[in-house]
Amino acid sequence: MDLLNALVALTNFVVIPGLAYGSQLALGALGVTLIYGILRFSNFAHGDTMAFGAMVTILFTWAFQSMGISFGVLPTALLALPFGIAGTILLALLTDRTVYRFYREQKAKPVIFVMVSLGVMFMMNGLVRFIIGPGDQRFADGERFIIKARTFKQMTGLNEGLAIKTTQGITVITAIIVVAVLFWFLNKTRTGKSMRAYSDNEDLALLSGINPERVVMYTWMIVAALATIAGVLYGLDKSFKPFTYFQLLLPIFASAIVGGLGNPLGAIAGGFIIAFSEVTITYAWKKVLNYSLPDSLAPDGLVQLLSTDYKFAVSFAILIVVLLFKPTGLFKGKAV
């Protein structure tokens, strides 16, 4: 019985939050890794693209709520999501047309692209703050829990409760669907194949008649969609605040690099590695240990390895270790 309690506590505080956070990071890292694979630079504006997508979705959510449209038990934001994606795609294509294309034609060095993406980051950040303000916005509605802690206790008779938030469930399911669609697209469709070809070998791809501008356009559309979905899921699960999205840049990049930049499968694995390390290292293990160890060995302290404020340090440490021992990441990324 005690072991069961330990398992439930572990699932409740580590596995479920880790899965949800990992899915959000994986979606974000997929966007970063696609840009890196096809456009060949690290896009520092990705966090703010996520913020922009989430913002557009929030604005549509509010509009729907004021019109009295709702999605039943699910959050209204899911209805608004397609509009958010459309808005972000427009912005991404506009940025590419006005900013990035010039440097592509110049064949500028990757580091120049990174600088340019810093400028884009500033502008998007300013735009989001200008439209929605720098404060916290909550926009989740509908049913809050799939399983409530108390219902779970009554059902099973255990001491420990298990709570699954609707947003966590939605996050994981959405992430699975999105990743499945993305991989189907990359592996089965003509456009997807041309994207992979372009990423693997630009010259050969050009030689075989692939239109680079088309590939780039599709990449931005997919990246904008991924960024919006990741941003909305993160905002639903926690809350929306422009600056938090900027700070997500670090774990997202860590996920993409740990998995191997330019490798979509690596980005997903990296997302979960980073998320689970952050959660396990900053979790106070006292409860789980109390259940699973005999009384004589029960710990006095919280058994928390690092306080939650150091979660950045965790993703950073993993990043450094992987880079030192396997510079192209766990899944053989590319190095430009």
Binding site: S42, M121, F122, N125, G126, Q247, L250, Y310, F316, L323
Partner: protein, 440 residues
């Protein structure tokens, strides 16, 4: 018009902007000499940071986006050097804290040794893991109780280990040393990796340094802030009570309160200008020297430089440490100017990326460009807000009174800053990628 003429005129333009800020309240100028001096002082500090970044990026092509961390370390140095000694803190737990930190450092060093000297394989992994885990728990066992007892001492005012009670000017080189030490550690691990990996690594380290400052209350009092740091210049109140000062102020026909505030700010401006000129001179000398030429050779073609027998990684480490030290000194100067350390106010957009805008707009690779960019962009960073409000008032003047859109536009005008800075950066990168004062 020759280049020298043009560049001098650019500096004159910045000077005129700052003078206008003091002399007139036309449009967005405030007409207050105090405000002009505040802008000038922070502009000078920004110029020093820009020189630090320019040394790394312009000379050697290193992409460092962790400037905020080095600046914050400079600020920490001010607290550690100049605040009074707290004997109780040292007798209760300070020594144990130092011991714990030494333990932690020893663990890391032995970890590095094990990786270096043991043959790769399962045995190495196991020993490494064992040393790391044991070291971590020993460290925590010494560290946690010591921190508790230090933080318990007079928590409303202190609760940290205090400083060394040295003159505050000494904190500036100390800030440089602290930043240099951190830069050496980062450089040792992250240099030699690809340029964008270095960027991510520095971005991460800056966040970690800030997390330490915010959470380690025994060190910097965390978000409770350290206020009332010692100053190198007299306090305004003392000046106002000094009959000699009041008399000489009256001689200039000035009110003693105004005179004292301006006296102090002008004093800081002189100090900062002296430091800036010293760094500018050193950076110019370094640029012209064989060492500077070697750096640029490495920047332009690493492979060729390596073929000529230059140790690229070592040189990169050297310049990374030097540039970061300058940022640390600038950070210490800034904390001295504010006479408080407020870890909650450090923000990468303001302390890292804005400095990058300064370097690129001024002209990367040119020290005078960095100084110009620092002063000019700082002026606009301050003034974009009033400009934005003016612009919004103009845009909304035709709208109906009390309309929601008008209220929103006016209220959000202050967020124009980041947008404008991004726009300036993109415009410069596109139309004048070499900056206002290009590299020769």
């Amino acid at each position: 018009m020759t280049d020298t003429m043009k560049h001098t005129l650019l500096f004159v333009f910045v000077g005129v902007l700052i003078l206008a800020e003091g002399a007139t309240d036309f449009l967005f100028f405030s007409g207050s000499w105090n405000s002009a001096l505040v802008i000038l002082n922070m502009g000078l500090i920004s110029a020093i940071m820009a020189i630090g970044v320019n040394i790394q990026w312009g000379f050697a092509g290193l992409f460092n986006v962790g400037i905020m961390g080095f600046t914050a370390l400079g600020g920490l140095a001010v607290v550690l050097t100049s605040t009074p000694v707290i004997p109780e803190a040292w007798s209760s737990g300070g020594v144990s804290i130092v011991m714990a930190l030494v333990m932690g450092a020893l663990t890391v060093v032995s970890g590095v040794m094990i990786t270096k000297f043991m043959a790769p394989g399962k045995a190495r992994m196991l020993v490494l893991a064992a040393v790391m885990i044991v070291g971590f728990f020993v460290y925590r066992a010494i560290f946690d109780p010591a921190v508790g007892s230090v933080e318990a001492i007079n928590p409303a005012l202190q609760g940290n280990i205090g400083g060394l009670g040295l003159p505050v000017l000494l904190a500036w080189p100390a800030g440089g040393l602290l930043a240099a030490g951190a830069a050496w550690l980062i450089g040792k691990t992250a240099l030699g990796l690809r340029s964008d990996y270095l960027a991510i690594a520095t971005l991460g380290i800056a966040e970690i340094i800030l997390a330490v400052l915010k959470n380690e209350d025994w060190l910097s009092r965390g978000v409770k802030n350290v206020v009332g740091l010692p100053r190198p210049l007299p306090y305004e109140v003392d000046l106002q009570n000094d009959p000699a000062f009041v008399e000489s102020a009256a001689g200039f026909g000035m009110d003693p309160v105004l005179a004292s505030t301006i006296y102090v700010k002008a004093g800081y401006a002189l100090l900062f200008t002296a430091v800036l000129l010293a760094f500018l001179w050193m950076a110019q000398m370094a640029l012209k020297s064989p060492w500077g030429r070697m750096m640029r050779a490495i920047r332009d073609n690493e492979t060729a430089a390596e073929a000529m027998g230059k140790d690229v990684t070592r040189r990169h480490l050297q310049i990374f440490v030097l540039g970061s030290a300058i940022c640390g000194i600038a950070g210490a100067m800034m904390t001295t100017l504010d006479s408080q350390l407020t870890p909650g106010t450090y923000n990468p957009l303001r302390f890292t990326f804005l400095i990058w805008v300064m370097v690129i707009v001024g002209g990367s690779g040119n020290n005078f460009g960095a100084v110009l960019g620092g002063m000019l962009i700082w002026f606009f960073w301050i003034k974009v807000e009033p400009m934005g409000i003016l612009l919004m008032e103009l845009v909304t003047s035709g709208m109906a009174e009390g309309s929601e859109l008008k209220a929103h536009l006016l209220a959000s005008a202050s967020h124009m800053r980041l947008f404008t800075m991004g726009l300036i950066l993109l415009l410069v990168l596109r139309f004048s990628p070499r900056g206002l004062i290009p590299e020769k």
